[in-house]
């Protein structure tokens, strides 16, 4: 409480003549001061004194037994582990406060123009009331790797399937179309399978493929494979599963029990390898190219049949995994790691925007409501468009509120913790792709017993980082005429 003394030195008590009303007695002063005591004790014991101890501990070793000078701080700024945490805090601070304030401003301006503003605001504001833990779980599921679970990947799958639909015979990862050819064909360009020998009109072609489980083509209505008889001028053939459990070594004949592949898309290639006709196989794998002109041709099984499509096997984008946007070119490994933006950060920022946009919208909205309506009306009368009014009148007038919101959100993300350890639980530990200063304080300080040195130094850094915000608040509140 040394501050009190400073204050008294600064403004020495002035004695007033007479009038004990203006100059309360010591007893009177004490009576009203007593009301402050519970709060003061609480703050001194649990906030101020421990904070001082933390500063002291930051100059001691892990078990708080030996003074180590600046070693902890030196370690903080030199070990890759904590530098990753710094990087993530920087990413959060650069992206999040600005974006969430902008969203809040846009929504606040737009809500003023709809009749159901109360309902809208309530909907957007709700996540502020939920715990970050619960919200993190929602977004963990939204960003699930499998398109069968996570909405994000399901949406990408839907769009991707729209533009490049998966084939009826998707390849499992790691296999090539060429490895499927077992008889009469071989791997062609761009993931196709092409017959080995050229044929003329009036001939029959057999294309044997293996490597698909029977369930795949049976689901498509496959029947016993049959080789059609060629009519004059046609090239006919069959695409079939060249494998019989009863006679596994016979790889050229169509044996009983060997099914055709239905719904295979085929192309007829001329001698230059350009497609001249297309066909689709029937239930028994049979196909016909009618009225083929003279010359030699090859039959190609299109690559589209084998396209796996996005999210095949339940593996889409690993939003919360270890992927990141990494800069390349002329950078060492450490620099690359420090300059990369992990996907998990972006995913968490999206979730955090959902959580906090309601807050920024309501605070900016309150600022908007308190604005001088006359200035806005004047701008409109002068013929300013909505956009001009917003940019030239509303936003400049709102600037103080926007700055408060921005600062609040900066403080918020400097301390970012809950969402990190919940959404990125695999990569939030020290050195992990998603770790932050606050998560490092927790893991280094409290897991596997209590360690004070490094964790205290981290906490002090965290504190130092919020000091500008603290000064901003002090200046604002002091200047606010309180």
């Amino acid at each position: 409480m040394a501050v009190v003394t400073v204050d008294e030195v600064a403004s020495p008590p002035r004695r007033k003549k007479g009038g004990s009303l203006d100059r309360p007695s010591l007893r009177e002063q004490a009576a009203s001061l007593a009301f402050l005591v519970p709060g003061a004790i609480w703050l001194l014991a649990i906030v101020i004194y421990p904070a001082v101890v933390t500063v002291k501990d930051s100059f001691f070793n892990e078990t708080d037994t030996k003074a180590v000078g600046l070693t902890n701080y030196k370690n903080l700024f030199t070990t890759a582990e904590t530098l990753i945490a710094f990087r993530n805090n920087v990413i959060w601070v650069i992206i999040f406060p600005f974006v969430v304030t902008t969203i809040g401003l846009v929504l606040a301006v737009l809500t003023e123009r709809i009749r159901w503003a109360t309902a809208f605001k309530t909907v957007i504001f709700l996540p502020v009331v939920f715990s970050v833990t619960a919200s993190s779980m929602v977004f963990t599921q939204i960003f699930d790797t499998s398109p069968q679970v996570g909405v994000a990947n399901a949406l990408i799958q839907t769009v991707s399937d729209w533009f490049s639909p998966p084939g009826a015979y998707p390849l499992s990862p790691g296999t090539t179309a060429a490895s499927l050819a077992s008889y009469g064909a071989t791997g062609g360009p761009h993931g196709t399978v092409v017959t080995t020998s050229a044929v003329n009109a009036g001939s029959a072609v057999k294309i044997g493929l293996t490597g698909f489980p029977p369930t795949t083509f049976q689901a498509l209505g496959a029947r016993q494979a049959v080789l059609p008889k060629p009519a004059k001028g046609d090239i006919v053939g069959v695409v079939w599963r060249d494998f019989s459990a009863n006679n596994p070594t016979n790889t050229s004949s169509i044996l009983p029990g060997e099914d055709g592949y239905p719904l295979m898309h085929l192309s007829l290639l001329n001698t230059h390898g350009s497609p001249v006709a297309s066909a689709t196989t029937g239930g028994g794998g049979q196909f016909v190219f009618s009225n083929v002109g003279p010359g030699a041709y090859k039959v190609s099984v299109d690559a589209s049949n084998f396209a796996a499509g996005f999210g095949a096997g339940g593996v889409g984008v690993s939003w919360l995994g270890g992927q990141s946007l990494t800069p390349t070119g002329g950078l060492g490994q450490t620099e690359q790691a420090l300059l990369s933006v992990p996907l998990v950060d972006i995913s968490m920022i999206i979730a955090y925007l959902w959580i906090w946009a309601g807050f920024t919208m309501v605070v900016v909205g309150a600022g908007l409501a308190a604005l001088d309506r006359q200035a806005l009306e004047a701008a409109k009368v002068d013929g300013a468009t909505e956009w001009q009014t917003l940019r030239r009148v509303t936003i400049p007038m709102l600037a103080p509120v926007l700055v408060v919101v921005l600062v609040t959100m900066i403080i918020n993300v400097l301390k970012i913790f809950d969402i990190v350890i919940n959404m990125a639980y695999n990569t939030s530990e020290p050195g992990g792709q998603a770790s932050t200063l606050a998560s490092d304080v927790y893991f280094k300080g409290f897991t596997n017993g209590i360690h004070t040195g490094l964790a205290s130094a981290l906490a002090v850094i965290l504190f130092v980082l919020v000091i500008p915000a603290m000064l901003f608040n002090l200046k604002r509140i002091k200047g606010g005429g309180s």
Binding site: V3, V6, D7, P24, A30, A31, L33, A34, F35, L36, G39, W42, L43, V47, A51, V53, T54, D57, L107, L110, E112, T118, T122, V123, I124, F125, L126, V128, V129, F130, S131, V132, T133, A134, Q141, Q148, V149, V151, W354, V363, A366, A370, K380, V401, F417, I421, N422, Y425, G445, F446, T452, A459, V460, L462, M470, L474, R476, I477, G481, S482
Partner: protein
Amino acid sequence: MTTATPPITLETNAPVPTAIAAPKAGTRTVSWLHAGRAVLNIFMVVVALLWLLPSLSMLIISFRQAGLFETSGWWNVITHPLQWTLYNYRELFSGGPGSTVPSGFRAGGALDSVRTSLEITVPATVLVVAVSALAAYSLVFGRWRGRNIIFLTIVGLMVVPLQVAILPVVEGFDDMGKTIGWNPYGTIEGVVIFHVAFGLPFGIFLMRNFFLGIPKDLIEAGRVDGAGEWTLFRRVVIPIGVAAAASLAIFQFIWTWNDLLVALVILGADPHVPITLFIYGQERTLAANFWIISTGSIVSIVIPLAVFLGFQRYFVRGVLAGAVK
């Protein structure tokens, strides 16, 4: 926003500027405006739906058969309306003797966690409001010098990250165990003590701002009449300050209810944990059951949601006043 906040809530919006059509606007302009209004409304509906979707997905998952989670997205309920079940809730609430999930009021069960959350949140809220009101009274109506410096110190404390204090506090708790035989570490009391400390700066700030609106003459007149400070506090300030107290209480309640870090550090090893820690712990188990997590999450938001919807006006006022926390 530094002085007593205007009573702006989600409900009382600024007057909607209705007179958009300028006097000279012809019919073409008006119809264009109508089109613009329709586009705006559609856009806002889309945004609102986008914001509802995450919560809605969690709600749907909590009512769906657990086994479906891995194989079919929750959106399949649109085409398969028969997948609803109350099993998840029944299991999490009652959980028979043979139940393998952390259910009911057993230690670590879902309902036990809700109870623990209440055991932490209610005392922490009451204490923050009471201690803040006392301190704010002293800061506004007190007759001692240095009130402004103390107030600014408290404003400064508002942004102090709790990470800065929590390590020594935990150690201090252990020391208490050795010296006076009572160690708040691992107890609900320990969590409450910590939450109150970090709720106070904002609480005092908020209450002070509201008390500033009470005429000082009222207090001075009381003093001239010989009323004691306690009487003035109880008879004059408290009745006027109820709305402020309500704002602070709702804010503190939701804040404490949603805390994870303090509970994790102080109660991490305890069998009785608050609901946020219950969810976090479920995620960390080896065979994480998403149906427990999603149902638990829905359970966890019921109480804060009810408090918010019931006292929306007060909560928003607290949020606005505390835009600095």
